[in-house]
């Protein structure tokens, strides 16, 4: 009996001198891993345009049906994203979200990432449906979020998929360029030597037009 007490106290005494595991939240916060999956953030390009093109792929990938999107068309007067399409409405219901990160994997433009944002308590449940304005990073900021922690660095000497664009292969950049030129210039080189782009120009010298 006495031995048992000493045995038990031994553990207590052994732990007494150690630093406690608990932290004094919220004054003190634990460092989080790079791939921590918290609340969603919608990113921008450096020119301020939204990366999101309203393609619904994140909503399609979402196993919890937490994302609701309504898309609309960019106009010259009001350009929200590169290319033709943008998300007019982008709602994430964080009560439904299971923080699996499929949305960021589905995104062709790297527009949505799960960030290290976990302080999400609210008083009213409807406040946990985050709207686009709340999710979007502020104007002037153009981050890639946790994307760099997820995407493996490209191997050296990878051929670029986009002519005129130097750099390593980056799936995001390639598909972003396809859906709306991303932040790349829209002009492309003329494909065939001697082709003026005029459909009535046959390119054959001396031929009657």
């Amino acid at each position: 009996m006495a031995m048992d007490i000493i045995k038990g106290l031994n553990t207590t005494l052994r732990e007494l001198g150690k630093k406690p595991t608990t932290v004094s939240y919220p004054e003190e916060k634990r460092p989080l891993p790079a791939r921590f999956r918290g609340r969603h953030v919608l990113h921008r390009y450096e020119n301020g345009l939204e990366r999101c093109v309203g393609c619904f792929l994140c909503a399609g990938a979402c196993p919890a049906d937490a994302i609701y999107i309504e898309a609309a068309e960019n106009s010259e007067e009001q350009r929200v994203s590169p290319g033709e399409r943008y998300a007019r409405v982008f709602d994430v219901n964080l009560l439904r979200c299971i923080f699996c990160g499929y949305c960021e994997q589905a995104c062709p433009t790297g527009a949505i990432t799960l960030e290290r944002i976990y302080e999400l308590s609210v008083t009213h449940p409807e406040d946990l449906v985050y709207h686009k304005e709340q999710l979007l990073e502020p104007l002037g900021s153009a981050t890639r979020g946790s994307l760099d922690a997820w995407v493996a660095p490209a191997p050296d000497q990878t051929p670029t998929p986009l002519p005129g664009r130097q750099g390593f292969f980056d799936g995001l950049e390639a598909s972003a360029a396809a859906v709306g030129q991303g932040d790349l210039p829209a002009e492309t080189e003329i494909m065939i030597a001697g082709d003026t782009g005029d459909p009535h120009d046959t390119g054959v010298a001396g031929e009657e037009k």
């Binding site: 393609c55 898309a71 005129g164 859906v179 492309t188």
Partner: protein, 787 residues
């Protein structure tokens, strides 16, 4: 479809599996029969093969190179393989070429998710590309019509759209321009693309090159809930797939039913769905209090309706209440509505806004319906369009007429206004609006006066032919030419053409019968068809093109003051007794008031279901609407009539309920609920059941299927109808119960065309009909009395 005789079948094997297909079939169709996918872009089953896209490569034994499955006709003993390395390499090569310039903008493309290029690349494609040059870029999107946008980067030049415009719609529109790698789709500015069939090119475009403005960036295919149903806009009843996202109908796609729509759909059916999505729709019952319509609960509204109707019927007799039904509601709802009035309130005052057709006489059943079918048009040698405008009012019938023209039919257009078919017609005649009836009589005059009658029917009835001749003796083409401003010689020639035709179809507009001269239009044209032998076989017939999606169903279901469901006269005691026994009520034998009589103030309480009589009334008559002691309106919107009502009950659209519609070719088809009903509104049948129960009737219908089964038991024309028996494709009445399928599903067999022997039998094959068929069929005017 009938079993093919064995000698017409060709036997071949595909991937080692034997299959027999009719002579002249393509390898693609044979493989499809086996469930083997052969990818296609340029080929479309409803159009001639082209062989342009080179996607459908298959290996055929003893052929040195790969063959295109969409252009190669099967031969006896052919051995086809779709899975050899050569075939796979061929398809991969084609796809790699197609993708050289096709942008990879699938995430923002409206076709993404239902795109043949995506699907086939995934299933048959190489998985990578060796071309790393820049893709072509063009200005986009370019509007090619009011409704359609073109993205030239995405086009793979399959030419489906251009061939549709040219060979199916037979109108100006899209065409291929330029040559070689510069080939693109375009429109000649001098010949704009303004066809009502334009939406079909969006649907058949295998990529996202042609997209619809109304659906632009609205949704993605995987977000849509897709329900097979029937379009509720016009009387053709095209089969559709209703695409709904959350609480909005975004579009309708065609759901091929070769007998009705041949796989096509018009732009109205495809995109004109604003009414269903409207913010103006009623979401709560309204009751007039202190002179204003104010929101009320369903319970309160239904009890008030039942209480007031009962009170007025008891005080002033059942004849003081009446009902105006709708040509838009389902058969089930029309049936319940007249049952409520006939069995619940004891009155025959029930009618709707419809064409003028001679009323039925005892002993003869005269369902004024198209005696042939839409598909039957293809077998006609002559088609007469009299006073109708199918292009705008029944577009898919117009498209079928175009198909008939391609099959060799001659079309005769006799209309007051220019018609879109004029360009393709053999005869084009114009006349002063309002004289359609005189033209019909003039045609009958020529046929009887010149002795052009033919066929067994006319031969057996010399006396009635003579009587008929006398009745139209004064309506010579020369006479009519003066009043109607039509060319008399051409009219004579037309009558001779019809009389000499191998098989002629005569079509007129239901509403043409409402013209001053139209009182006997339906009867005259029926007689014209009977006397010229253009009756009772496919490709020959006569009939009205009805106004609305369920115009015919409303008549069938007895929304008429003088007939019970199935055109049995209310005066017919046996029919009343039989129906009364099922309904548990004693029915009145006195015909009720007509639409005009009721609206003219013939009743004190009026129940208007899904109709807006204010639209059809002159301003002077509108005051009558205010004069009713009690006016109930049941509708989706606060219509002109509803504004004057004492109680307004909010109903739902056809996409929000189950039921059945009967189209203009007598086809009874199932309508299926595609979305949740608008909160606060109820389906018409639900409201009717609620009101009936508030009236103290013991109605126990839980679903429209139960109502349809009752119709199947009590209405001879619809004998055997039930939700399961109608199946996906529907059937044309008169229906009769068929044998059960091996799985135990009941079936029903229809009648694609009516014969005069059917009229002789009273059309009713069985059931409670009181039709005696005593005297056999006589000419319409001899049998019918004018309404």
């Amino acid at each position: 479809m009938a079993e093919q005789p064995r000698e017409d079948l060709v036997n071949l094997t595909i991937d080692g599996r034997p299959v027999s297909v009719p002579k002249g079939s393509l390898i693609w169709a044979a493989a499809r029969k086996l469930g083997i996918e052969i990818p296609i872009y340029c080929y479309h089953p409803k159009m001639e093969p082209l062989g342009a896209c080179r996607m459908c490569f298959v290996a055929v034994e003893k052929m040195p190179k790969l063959a295109t499955a969409c252009t190669t006709v099967v031969t006896e003993g052919m051995v086809v393989r779709t899975d050899t390395p050569a075939v796979k390499k061929g398809r991969q090569g084609t796809l790699e070429f197609l993708l050289i310039n096709h942008p990879l903008d699938c995430p923002v493309c409206d076709k993404g998710g239902e795109c043949d290029l995506q699907d086939f690349t995934l299933r048959h494609g190489p998985g990578g590309s060796r071309f790393d040059v820049s893709k072509r870029h063009f200005a986009k999107p370019i509007p090619v019509s009011e409704q359609i946008l073109l993205d030239r980067e995405r086009c793979i030049a399959c030419q489906r759209c251009a061939r549709f415009c040219q060979s199916v719609a037979m109108e100006d529109g899209l065409a291929m321009q330029e040559r070689g790698f510069r080939t693109e789709v375009g429109v000649d500015p001098a010949a704009p693309f303004d066809s009502i069939f334009s939406g079909n090119v969006v649907e058949m475009c295998p990529v996202g090159a042609l997209t619809a403005k109304s659906y632009r960036f609205v949704s993605r295919p995987w977000e849509l809930k897709k329900t097979g149903s029937v379009c509720g806009l016009c009387s053709v009843g095209c089969n559709v797939r209703v695409d709904v996202r959350v609480d909005k109908v975004l579009r309708q796609y065609s759901r091929p039913n070769d007998d009705v729509d041949d796989g096509w759909l018009c732009d109205r059916g495809r995109w004109e769905l604003d009414a269903i999505n409207s913010q103006e729709r009623l979401r709560t019952p309204l009751i007039r209090k202190d002179g204003l319509l104010q929101p009320a609960s369903w319970d309160e509204a239904m009890r008030l309706v039942a209480g007031r109707l009962r009170e007025i019927a008891e005080r002033d007799g059942p004849g003081a209440v009446g009902g105006i039904g709708s040509t838009h509601t389902t058969n089930e709802e029309a049936y319940l509505f007249q049952k409520l009035l006939r069995a619940g309130l004891g009155t025959n005052n029930v009618d709707h806004h419809h064409g003028r057709f001679p009323a039925a006489a005892p002993g003869a059943v005269l369902p004024w319906a198209w005696t042939d079918s839409i598909a039957g048009l293809e077998r006609a040698s002559d088609i007469l369009i009299l006073g109708a405008d199918p292009y705008h009012r029944q577009p898919i019938v117009d498209l079928r007429i175009r198909k008939a023209i391609r099959a060799g039919a001659r079309v005769h257009i006799v209309t007051p206004e220019p018609n879109r078919l004029d360009r393709l017609a053999a005869t084009v005649l114009r006349y002063t609006p309002g004289h359609t009836g005189e033209i019909a009589r003039a045609l009958l005059n020529v046929v009887t006066a010149e002795g052009l009658t033919r066929g067994e029917f006319a031969a057996q009835r010399a006396a009635t032919v003579e009587a008929r001749r006398a009745s139209v003796a004064n309506d010579t083409p020369e006479q009519v030419a003066e009043t109607a401003g039509i060319e008399s010689a051409a009219l004579r020639a037309l009558a001779r053409d019809l009389a000499g035709a191998e098989a002629a179809v005569i079509l007129y507009d239901e509403m043409a019968t409402r013209e001053p001269s139209g009182a006997t239009l339906a009867a005259d044209l029926l007689d014209l068809a009977l006397l010229t032998g253009n009756f009772g076989r496919p490709g020959a017939g006569v009939g009205p093109l009805m106004e609305d999606n369920n115009s015919l169903g409303a008549r069938d279901m007895g929304l008429l003051p003088d007939t019970l469901p199935g055109y049995r006269l209310v005066a017919d005691q046996d029919a009343r007794a039989a129906l009364g026994a099922v309904w548990g009520a004693t029915l009145v034998g006195e015909p009720g008031q007509t639409y005009e009589e009721m609206l003219g103030g013939g009743v004190k309480a009026l129940y208007v279901l899904g109709a807006d009589p204010a639209r059809h009334l002159a301003d002077a008559q509108l005051t009558h609407l205010n004069g009713f002691e009690f006016l109930v309106v049941q509708d989706m919107f606060l219509t002109e009539t509803a504004r004057r009502a004492d109680v307004v009950l909010p109903a739902v659209a056809y996409t929000e309920k189950d039921g059945s519609f009967t189209n203009t070719e007598r086809r009874v088809q199932r309508v299926r609920q595609a979305m949740q009903p608008l909160p606060g509104a109820k389906a018409d049948w639900e409201i009717l059941v609620g009101v009936a129960r508030a009236l103290g009737l013991s109605w126990r219908y839980l679903t429209p299927a139960e109502i349809l089964s009752e119709i199947g038991r009590t209405v001879p024309l619809y004998a055997g109808a039930s939700r399961r028996a109608l199946g996906e494709l529907g059937a044309c009445w008169p229906l009769s119960p068929g044998a059960r399928t091996p799985e135990g599903r009941p079936t029903v067999s229809g009648s694609p065309f009516l014969t005069w022997e059917m009229f002789e039998r009273g059309v009713a094959p069985s059931g409670v009909s009181g039709a005696t068929g005593a005297a056999g069929p006589e000419l319409a005017v001899a049998r019918g009395r004018e309404e």
